[in-house]
Symmetry: C2
Subunit: 226 residues, 2 copies
Amino acid sequence: MSEKKHVKTEKNVLEGNFRIAQNLRRMFAQNGVVVLNLVSSPGSGKTTMLVRTITDLFSDFRMAVIEGDQQTSRDTERISSAGVPVHQINTMSGCHLSAAMISKAVKEFDLKNLDVLFIENVGNLVCPAAFDIGEDFRVLILSVTEGEDKPLKYPNMFISSHIVLLNKIDLLSALNFQKDECLGFIKRITPNAKVFEISATSGGEGMKEWYRWLEDAVNLKKKQSE
Amino acid sequence: MSEKKHVKTEKNVLEGNFRIAQNLRRMFAQNGVVVLNLVSSPGSGKTTMLVRTITDLFSDFRMAVIEGDQQTSRDTERISSAGVPVHQINTMSGCHLSAAMISKAVKEFDLKNLDVLFIENVGNLVCPAAFDIGEDFRVLILSVTEGEDKPLKYPNMFISSHIVLLNKIDLLSALNFQKDECLGFIKRITPNAKVFEISATSGGEGMKEWYRWLEDAVNLKKKQSE
């Protein structure tokens, strides 16, 4: 296939995806549900963060999860045991979730009875950046074990994110990680993103601030859909 | 674009890529150069491992590097300062290196005067799995901070790898990482892969075993090309 044809195909795929995503966003808004697209590289602690969040907020919000995974249902089992409805999408060789996949998956839920829908994307800092899946907020989880320079090296993903959760900060003392440098890079690439420094294991540092933000987002959404 | 058409397009792209990769492999063999495709998720310590390797083996082998990065030339600068020739490919929104990119990049090197060519792929555990770039060995770097289950969750990448470098083992005492469980998963997914437990920083644990393997590969390749 020629380079030109390839670019055209890609453009068509993204435009089609965007149309479906816009429809999804309208539907989510009508139902007053906040939708979060969780993105990160593999091993950032995305699922651990999610399981802790739904466990801690279980009595406050009505939540559900769409779980994107190349293979295995390991994450789905972890989430399911936390007690919220979860639907799994196995992307197999696919490297990202698309709006069409989400359209199909949301049929499993009664959106009217949800406050928050978490969509855990495939662990990949590249491909999911280009695919709008109808979310209100894109939440990027970056672990301090990954090095300071990730915002510079994967700018497309950072630019398109509204929230950055800087995870595993309990490991800082064991690492040679320049936190202020990293925060500077995030600020440079995505100046408006809100950053929370968290640890989803151990003492749960910073998780309360993240929950407070989520609570505000839910309240605002409910007001808008009234 | 229909699902069927999309699958056909993908098949054509992969077949075209494979043909170019086969030509590359022949050319590398004729020149007696060992080619390693380094793959991992972002932040596994791939570049740090590579810089240490070329620094430590500088007087033993004639080496060069092709550096694949979405953006920035940070890694290229790190490698360049270690004293070996390096050519950078910026993939921009692309999520993997292809054989065609490598075909173009190798023109920058005098292959006859090389023992080892390292190709550092884009940090991504999904897409590079499908793209043969003419390498002799695919080397997967997995950091112990990423969790035990990565072989199960990204099997395509693990199945296609010949070497697994389990990196950052100096951090084991700070983590709740079940090393034996992880080694078991690697063995289950890719039973023939050779695994080295290493730390590319601090004491450099395990690096000597990795270098010894590389030396054997170079010697064998030279013998085959005589």
